[in-house]
Symmetry: C2
C-alpha cells in the first residue's frame, strides 16, 4: 500500500532505519536534533508505522477481542462503550464479535483469534455449561480471557458480574410487598450463572415472605421474540394468570409489555412488572417501566482498566481467579406502583 516506510525516511535523511525507529519512539539514545529532523519529516508525510510489522515484531497487536451474545442489546452495547473509553486512551483497539447466543459461533470466533490477532479476549458467554473447550484453546496460546456477566464456572480468570441475586431479591420483595400473590419469573433458558442468581433471588424473596413459589411460574424462554410473545399471551390469557412479573432479560420485559397491551390488561392494576434492562427510555414507556439497570458502562471500563494494567505489567496474572461484583440500580416506576 503505502510506499513510505521507516527505511524510506532513513534514506531521505541519510540515517539508518534503526535510528529513525528509535527517534520515532522517543528513545533517549537519540539526539534531540536528529529526533526533530525525523519527527518533522514523518509529520509532514503523515507517516504512520506499519501496524502489522510492529505487531509481528513485538508479538502483540494492541487490540482486544470482545465477544458478546447479542450486540444490539443495550447492556452489551454500553459495556462495549465502557471498554472502548478506556482502551482508546491507552491506544488499544477493539474488535467486537457477535456470537448470536450460539456456542458454535463462539467457537469459530475464538478459533479465528488464535493467531495473534488480539492480545486478550473479553467475553460474555453464549452458554456457560455447554462447552469450555474453546476457552482452553486461548489458554494454550497464552491469551488472557476476561469474563463479564455470563462468566465461566469451571475456568479460572477475572470475572466481572453484577449483584444479580440481590437485585432480583429486592425487586421480587417489592412486588410481593405491593400485594402480588402470583409472581412469574421470566428467564432465558440457557444455562447461565446470571439467570440462576436472579432466580435464586426471586426464590429467596418468596421464602422470606413465607410464600411457596409456584414452580410453573419459573418460565424459561428462547431467543425468538415472536415465539416468546406467543407464550406470554397464552400465559396471561389464562384465568388464573400471574399478577406480577419479574423479567430477567430486556427482551422478555418488552415482550411482556406487548403481550399485556394486546390483551388489554392494565399495568400495574392487574399485573405489575419489573424488568432487568438498560434501555434509556424506560421512563417514557406506557406505563413507565420499573427497571433493574446493570452498571454496564462501569463494568466495561473497570474491566478494561484491569485488563490493560495486566497486559502492561508482568506482575499481574490475568489468569488468576478473581471476582468483582458491581451493584445494579433498581428504579421503581409506574409499572409496579
Amino acid at each position: 500500500m503505502s510506499e513510505i516506510t521507516i527505511k524510506f525516511l532513513a534514506e531521505k535523511l541519510n540515517l539508518a532505519s534503526s535510528t529513525v525507529s528509535r527517534a520515532l519512539n522517543d528513545s533517549h539514545e537519540i539526539s534531540d536534533k536528529t529526533k526533530k529532523r525525523v519527527l518533522d519529516l514523518a509529520k509532514s508525510l503523515n507517516f504512520q508505522p506499519n501496524a502489522n510489522a510492529r505487531s509481528l515484531r513485538e508479538q502483540k497487536s494492541k487490540t482486544i477481542g470482545v465477544i458478546v451474545p447479542d450486540r444490539v442489546n443495550n447492556f452489551f452495547n454500553l459495556v462495549i462503550e465502557g471498554l472502548e473509553s478506556v482502551c482508546r486512551e491507552e491506544g488499544y483497539s477493539l474488535i467486537v464479535y457477535n456470537s448470536y447466543e450460539d456456542v458454535e459461533q463462539e467457537k469459530k470466533i475464538i478459533y479465528s483469534l488464535l493467531g495473534g490477532k488480539v492480545d486478550a479476549v473479553v467475553i460474555s458467554l453464549a452458554d456457560e455449561e455447554k462447552e469450555v473447550q474453546h476457552l482452553e484453546w486461548l489458554r494454550e496460546k497464552n491469551i488472557p480471557i476476561l469474563f463479564f456477566d455470563r462468566v465461566a464456572r469451571h475456568v479460572s480468570g477475572l470475572k466481572y458480574t453484577t449483584n444479580d441475586l440481590e437485585s432480583a431479591y429486592l425487586a421480587t420483595k417489592h412486588l410481593l410487598d405491593k400485594g402480588c400473590k402470583k409472581v412469574a419469573f421470566l428467564g432465558l433458558s440457557n444455562t447461565s450463572s446470571v439467570g440462576k442468581a436472579r432466580q435464586d433471588g426471586f426464590i429467596k424473596a418468596h421464602i422470606e415472605h413465607g410464600l411457596v413459589y409456584d414452580k410453573n411460574l419459573l418460565i424459561g424462554f428462547g431467543h425468538d421474540d415472536i415465539e416468546n410473545q406467543k407464550v406470554l399471551e397464552k400465559l396471561f390469557y389464562k384465568i388464573n394468570r400471574p399478577d406480577g412479573v419479574l423479567a430477567a432479560a430486556e427482551k422478555l420485559g418488552i415482550a411482556t409489555l406487548r403481550a399485556l397491551h394486546n390483551l388489554r390488561i392494565k399495568i400495574p392494576e392487574q399485573v405489575r412488572i419489573v424488568s432487568f434492562t438498560n434501555m434509556q427510555f424506560a421512563d417514557l414507556l406506557s406505563p413507565a417501566l420499573s427497571t433493574i439497570a446493570q452498571p454496564a458502562f462501569e463494568l466495561g471500563s473497570t474491566c478494561a482498566k484491569e485488563l490493560i494494567r495486566g497486559l502492561k505489567s508482568k506482575n499481574i496474572n490475568l489468569f488468576e481467579e478473581k471476582k468483582i461484583e458491581l451493584p445494579s440500580k433498581f428504579t421503581i416506576r409506574d409499572s409496579s406502583k
Copy 2:
C-alpha cells in the same frame, strides 16, 4: 506468544515451510497426501497462522475500520450489525471507532489507521463541512473510504444514504394534513447533508400546502441532552407553542417527549410528533411514537457487500463517485393521529 508456527509444523513433518504454507492454503501444487498430513497436524494442534505476519506479507489486514459519531445510537448500531453480518461471512473483521460527533476525534482515529491496520474505512462523518483533510490522508495511502448517512460532499467515493428529503416531506405533509398550523423542525446543528435534506423536505411540504414556514421553527440543537431538553421545555412553555414536531434525530424526539411529559402537554391532542428513529420500542412508548425508520441493517449489509466486492476484484474502483439511496419506512402511530 504461541510457539507453534509454520516452521514448527514443517520440522515436525520433515517438510519445508513453503510446502506447509501451500498445503494450508490448499495450493494445487501440493499432493493430497502431504496436504492431509499437514492439515491433520495443524488441526490437532489448533494451529492458526499468525495474522500479523500474514498481513505484513500480503499487505492487507482483512479488517475494516468503521467510524460512527455515536456508537450507542440505534441507527449506527444496526448499520454496524449489517456490516458485520456480511464481513463475517467473508472473513473480514470490524474495528469500530466512536468519533463522539467530534471532528478532532475523527482526525485522530483516521490518523491512527494510516499504518495498514485496516484495508478500508466505512464512515459516517461527525461534520460534513468542517474539514476533509483527514479524508485525503486515506486517499494518499490508497485506503478506500465508503460513506454512509452523513456523507462527504466534496470527496468522491461510494455513498450510501436514505431518502431523507422524501421521508421528511411525507411526515411533514402528514402533520399538516392532520391540521397542524405550526410545525417545528428539530435538527442537529452540525452541517450535514442529512439534516439539510430533511429540512428541505420539511420546507417542500409547507410550500406545497401553500404555507410559509416560520424560520424560527427551524431549530438547531447540540449534543447535550439536558441542554436540549431545557430548550424544548422553553419552546413549549410559550403560549404560541408549536402544535406539531418533526424531530430529525432520535435523541431530539425523545427529548421532546420528555419535555411534553414534564409540561403535561397532551400528545397528540395538543402537539403531534413524528421522529426519525430506529428504536425498537416505539410502539410501546406513551403514546406510541410515529417514526421514520432508516433501513439501517440493509444500509450496512449492502455497503459491506459492495466494499468486499471492490476489495476482491481489481476492476472495481472504490474511489469512484457513486450514490446509493435506500428508502426509509414511515410508520404512523398514536403520537400524530
